[in-house]
């Protein structure tokens, strides 16, 4: 199974890859323009008129959630670390039960455009909105940066563009396309881009899975065996001794790395239901029942997809081999594209490459509309203008914000290109779990919860997570750190969730109980009655 290590091989035909991706852009642009004839009101721009069905929204959620990191990243991690890559996908999936059982429906019933609508419902509007919007912008920015920086590596692998200038141009093109989707399409257009992308991604992964299974006579055990023997035969240093069928290849060894792994697992399972761009998707359906259906569809699709990646990851180890994966331009991320080329040649590779680009495009568009809606609706309209702003004005501000964010993301993406920013996605989940989820849960289920509790929990969760990550081995003091030359790390874990998440829950409780504020009983009653019955919930826009 050992192949001679080639110096950063190029695979497939870059022209075919670009061609198929361009086709995707043309088709989605057409759909976006068609779907977005009416984008005048805030309801239409921010929520697509709340007119999507549960299944449509569920597919769009899957499109939003299955980022390039989870497609290329997880398949690649399974290919070279084996079981430890699989652990990620389980956390990402189980997390949806938090959203389904505790958050989705009540959120749909009480909110309008943003996460802050729910959090500030019965608390003091301006400080809570400001905190919620700060968290929304922070999480979205980390997530956005991770996606944009990842685009550089993908370009090198799939389009054979090696120069930094060339890669920067491609990152800029991705950013400009994203701005156009958001400006023209609003939430409705963005949702359609995600639906199309999700279908392509899941069908593409399913086809590859069937092809891998067919090669091994539908015997999963044989795939595992071949993967292990390919790994054992690897010539890359440190790979051959890995047991890829059991946990521990990546997170084994010391107690610190084991606790680090538990910390990551905690952030993954509690982060999803606090991701603002996921929460905002629940406003695109007409009722709480449709929100429930959308989560069910999302769970089914995401679960199926992660099962595919399990086969694809081990399949890539067995059929492509760890040496070729690790020496390819994108490193671990190249496992799925290399496997596609191995299985289906230039055409399949072109499709999978186009899907990977479409993934980055759709996810950044979803993040941008969430962040710009939060800025316009929460910070501009409520905090700065004290609620005197019309909804048309909010849409205008949101469009400007989207352009600014897009330009900002292009700049940061170009700067971060080639940097090790893989920890940013995990960081976004950690911030969402620590800074957002406690306040969401408390405000929906705990009557006594008040403004001080919310502010302590939100800012405490945000600040503790960021401070711990800055002084962790993810940023300095390790070979794999973002700044490998410096060492100012004193916190031993690259994943801060195990400290910051409990801390944020405790701060929410302590802050609440030390404040004499019992809130307005009528407002508390209104929120509870509305969240459970759906009375007064925002209706779909009639067409």
């Amino acid at each position: 199974m050992t192949t001679t290590v080639l110096a950063a091989e190029t695979i497939g035909n870059p022209v075919a890859n670009i061609g198929i991706f361009s086709l995707f852009v043309v088709v989605t642009m057409f759909v976006v323009i068609r779907a977005s004839k009416r984008n005048a009101t805030a309801d239409e721009f921010f929520t697509g008129g709340r007119g999507f069905s549960g299944p449509q929204n569920g597919i769009a959620i899957a499109g939003d959630y299955l980022s390039a990191a989870s497609f290329l990243g997880i398949a690649g991690a399974i290919a070279v670390y084996g079981y430890d890559g699989f652990l990620y996908s389980i956390g990402f999936l189980v997390a949806w039960l938090v959203a389904l059982l505790l958050v989705a429906e009540l959120l749909r019933n009480t909110g309008k455009f943003t996460m802050a609508d729910v959090l500030s419902f019965r608390l003091r509007q301006r400080p809570v909105r400001l905190a919620a919007a700060t968290n929304t912008l922070t999480v979205s920015l980390f997530y956005l940066l991770a996606q944009m920086a990842g685009a550089g590596g993908l370009v090198a692998l799939l389009l054979d563009i090696r120069s930094r200038t060339g890669q920067s141009v491609v990152i800029a093109v991705v950013g400009v396309l994203m701005i156009v989707y958001v400006l023209v399409g609003g939430m409705k257009g963005t949702t359609w881009v995600q639906i199309i992308k999700a279908v392509l991604l899941i069908v593409g992964a399913a086809v590859m899975t069937v092809m891998v299974l067919a090669k091994f006579g539908l015997n999963f055990s044989e795939i595992l065996g071949s993967a292990q023997s390919a790994i054992s035969g690897a010539t890359t240093e440190g790979v051959a001794k890995r047991d890829v069928l059991a946990p521990g290849a990546q997170y084994g060894g010391t107690l610190t790395s084991q606790i680090n792994f538990i910390s990551l697992a905690l952030a993954l399972v509690l982060g999803t239901a606090g991701l603002p761009h996921v929460l905002m998707r629940f406003y695109t359906v007409p009722t709480a029942k449709e929100a429930r259906r959308s989560v069910v569809w999302a769970i089914a699709l995401i679960g199926a997809f992660y099962l595919f990646t399990l086969v694809l990851g081990y399949g890539a180890a067995a059929l492509v081999g760890p040496d070729r994966i690790l020496s390819a331009a994108g490193g671990v991320n190249s496992a799925a594209p290399l496997l596609a080329f191995q299985l289906g040649g230039v055409v399949l590779l072109g499709v999978i490459s186009a899907v990977a680009f479409a993934t980055i495009l759709a996810v950044v568009a979803g993040l941008t509309i969430t962040a710009s809606a939060s800025f316009a609706h929460d910070i501009y309209a409520s905090v700065l203008k004290k609620g005197t702003v019309t909804e048309a004005e909010q849409v205008r501000v949101s469009r400007i914000t989207a352009v600014v964010l897009g330009v900002f993301a292009i700049g940061l993406g170009i700067l971060a290109n080639g940097q090790n920013v893989a920890f940013l996605v995990a960081l976004a989940f950690a911030v969402a779990a620590a800074a957002n989820l406690p306040t969401i849960v408390f405000s929906l289920y705990w009557k006594r919860f008040n403004t001080r509790g919310a502010l302590w929990s939100m800012y405490g969760g945000l600040i503790s997570t960021i401070v711990l990550i800055v002084f962790s081995p993810a940023v300095s003091g390790a070979k794999t750190a973002m700044i490998p030359g410096a060492d100012f790390a004193w916190f031993p874990l690259a994943n801060p969730g195990i400290v910051s998440i409990p801390l944020a829950f405790i701060l929410g409780i302590v802050g609440t109980l030390t404040s004499p504020d019992h809130g307005d009983p009528e407002l508390n009653a209104e929120m509870e009655v509305r969240s459970l019955t759906g009375i007064g919930a925002e209706k779909a826009v009639a067409h």
Binding site: A42, Y83, F86, L87, I90, V94, L97, L100, L101, L102, G111, K112, D117, S120, F121, Q125, R126, F220, E222, G225, L245, A246, P247, Y251, G252, Q258, I259, F261, I262, A265, V269, K289, R292, V295, V296, I299, G303, Y306, S382, K386, G387, V389, Q394, Y445, D520, E522, L523, A525, E526, E528, V529, R530, L532, T533, G534, I535, G536, A537, E538, K539
Partner: protein, 120 residues
């Protein structure tokens, strides 16, 4: 109602329902029944899946040899428990949907209809 008159207040109709009415509804046995049914389902179920997930994570972190025990060919305990997490997630999703459709939706719908009839 909030003092700011923010656009977050839906313009539709709940404004027309006075605050005392929400307190009355909240205290009504029908609403308490709905609330208790919801909580009695989602809280224990959340505890169940979080504990099951925690067990899995702890095994993954500390019990490598146990997880590596071969069961069938190259399929080991770790893989089976991992796939078990997928299965339990799908199962709990199904149970919740059935529960919500049968027990929550009719009760929530009745309360909503009652309140909506008052503001027409």
């Amino acid at each position: 109602m909030s003092e700011t008159g923010l656009p977050s207040r839906p313009e539709a109709n709940p404004e027309l329902i006075p605050g005392e009415r929400y307190l009355q509804v909240q205290a009504s046995p029908e609403f308490q029944d709905l609330r208790n049914r919801l909580r009695r389902f989602v809280f224990p179920m959340t505890a169940v899946f979080l504990i099951w997930y925690t067990i899995y994570v702890l095994l993954g972190a500390f019990a490598h040899d146990f997880m590596a025990t071969k069961v069938w060919g190259d399929v080991n305990v770790g893989l089976i428990i991992g796939l078990g997490q997928f299965l339990s997630t799908f199962l709990i999703t199904g149970l919740y949907v059935r529960f919500a459709n049968r027990n929550l939706d009719p009760r929530a719908g009745a309360l909503r209809a009652e309140l909506e009839s008052e503001i027409r």
